[in-house]
């Protein structure tokens, strides 16, 4: 847990990891991007998703495997992503840090 503190997750990294968690077995780049766009209402660049997935995998937060090479994909396999326990711990850490910073501030924000 301490290890992750010095390498905390960025906002977009968190979104990608959360999308992977939400989608479970259906998590690959296309669905993850759609999920983020649908929930946040922001438009998300494909390139940003891909390099973030790469980075998270290199850091060990995600793991990937190839499967389902359908005809509509030109016979190319999908790369499915799964959150590893380290990634879940990192998410939990970011969330608890955010929650601590938010604690007691809700009324202040509502006033503005």
């Amino acid at each position: 847990m301490r290890r992750i503190e010095k390498d905390s997750l960025g906002e977009f990294e968190q979104m990608v990891l959360l999308a992977a968690l939400r989608l479970g077995d259906e998590a690959y780049a296309v669905t993850m991007r759609r999920e983020i766009e649908r929930r946040t209402g922001r438009s998300v660049s494909r390139g940003a998703v891909y390099i973030t997935l790469d980075r998270l995998e290199k850091k060990g937060y995600l793991t990937s495997y190839l499967a389902d090479s359908t005809a509509e994909r030109g016979g190319r396999a999908k790369r499915y992503y799964q959150v590893r326990p380290v990634g879940e711990a990192a998410l939990k850490d970011s969330w608890s840090a955010m929650r601590k910073m938010w604690e007691g501030l809700e009324p202040v924000i509502r006033k503005i």
């Binding site: 390139g47 940003a48 509509e72 030109g74 190319r76």
Partner: protein, 339 residues
């Protein structure tokens, strides 16, 4: 379902060129899948869609890789690295020419001393002994040449560097000799000596003494084939020199051209801004034009300007203040936007 359009080849090429191996095929597959899902689009439009996204994705990977792998201070020295390799190649060619020249001279020397060698052979000297003698001579030559060359190179390289140095801009190069260089030189000397010293030695001792002593008075016309190797060396020497000469002339011309070009902006100090949003890019461009039109050079310290670009675009006034802060700030500003 109607037939799906095939992705444009140039997009596939671009993606394969820029993406890391392990994700290449899956990324292409993702794009194909999304393209197939674009219902009601005609083939051309779908293919253009594919191309556009391929360009954006490879742009992301390109920038990401650059930022991650190249520490900023090395980016500027990249250009130097390539020209140094080029210089090494030229030095190698010059060395080859020198070796060919030396070998040629040694062959000539051996043919002049043919008579002496023949006499010694006739008096009973063994072949190995003669080869040893010639080898020792060439080794001596190589060692003296190497030592003198090392000293001359020290002085000359200092002179060359002081020649490159311009007023107000000093250039520091570490010119102290190190053991790797000396070891390389010594190895090269020994190698050259063995390679080009042995051949004349073998040639000189191969002929029978009787024939040489008899042929001695008849001039050199009879031994035409013996000069095959020498002629080959001369030919290769001349051709290598020609390559170097032409290359040097071309370089001198392009150097002259480069020096006389007026690019229209101050060349030292450039700023590359990568804006993540096209709108931000446009705003930044407007700002530069505005700063330039009011008589102030579009200037800004690199780091603050970058920060402001990427983080906060709501306050152009502040950005403008940053711009005019530093007189020595970049004059060339490149704007890139991946979207």
């Amino acid at each position: 379902m109607k037939k799906t359009p095939s992705p444009p080849n140039i997009a596939l090429f671009l993606l394969r060129l820029t993406l890391p191996d392990d994700v290449k095929e899956s990324v292409i597959g993702d794009l194909e899948e999304e393209m197939a899902a674009l219902s009601g689009w005609n083939s051309l439009r779908a293919r253009l869609w594919f191309l556009r996204h391929a360009i954006v994705i490879s742009g992301y990977y390109f920038v990401d890789r650059r930022l991650r792998r190249t520490p900023r201070r090395y980016i500027t020295s990249l250009g130097y690295e390539y020209s140094l390799w080029f210089l090494l190649g030229i030095a190698g060619l010059a060395l080859l020419i020198a070796c060919a020249n030396l070998a040629n001279l040694m062959l000539a020397q051996a043919s002049v001393r043919e008579r002496e060698i023949a006499v010694r052979l006739a008096l009973g000297a063994s072949r190995g002994r003669l080869i040893r003698q010639l080898l020792a001579e060439s080794l001596m030559l190589a060692v003296i040449g190497t030592v003198v060359g090392a000293f001359v190179a020290q002085g000359l390289s200092r002179f060359l560097v002081s020649f490159i140095r311009q007023q107000g801009r000093s250039l520091f190069l570490d010119l102290s000799p190190d053991w790797r260089l000396l070891a390389f030189l010594a190895g090269l000397a020994v190698f050259t000596c063995i390679l080009f010293g042995l051949t004349p030695a073998f040639r000189a001792t191969r002929t029978t003494p009787g024939a040489v002593l008899k042929a001695g008075g008849r001039g050199l016309t009879a031994s035409r084939e013996r000069f095959g190797l020498r002629r080959m060396l001369v030919v290769s020497q001349v051709s290598l020199s020609l390559i170097l000469l032409v290359g040097a002339l071309l370089f001198a011309r392009s150097l002259q051209k480069i020096m006389s070009i007026d690019p229209g902006f101050k060349q030292d100090g450039g700023l590359i801004v990568i804006c993540l949003k096209a709108l931000a890019c446009v705003m930044f461009a407007c700002l530069i034009v505005a700063a330039g039109s009011c008589g102030q050079p579009p200037a800004g310290a690199v780091e603050p300007a970058l920060d402001a670009t990427l983080k906060d675009f709501k306050n152009p006034e502040e950005l403008r203040a940053l711009f005019n802060k530093d007189k020595d700030a970049p004059r060339l500003i490149l704007l890139l936007s991946p979207t």
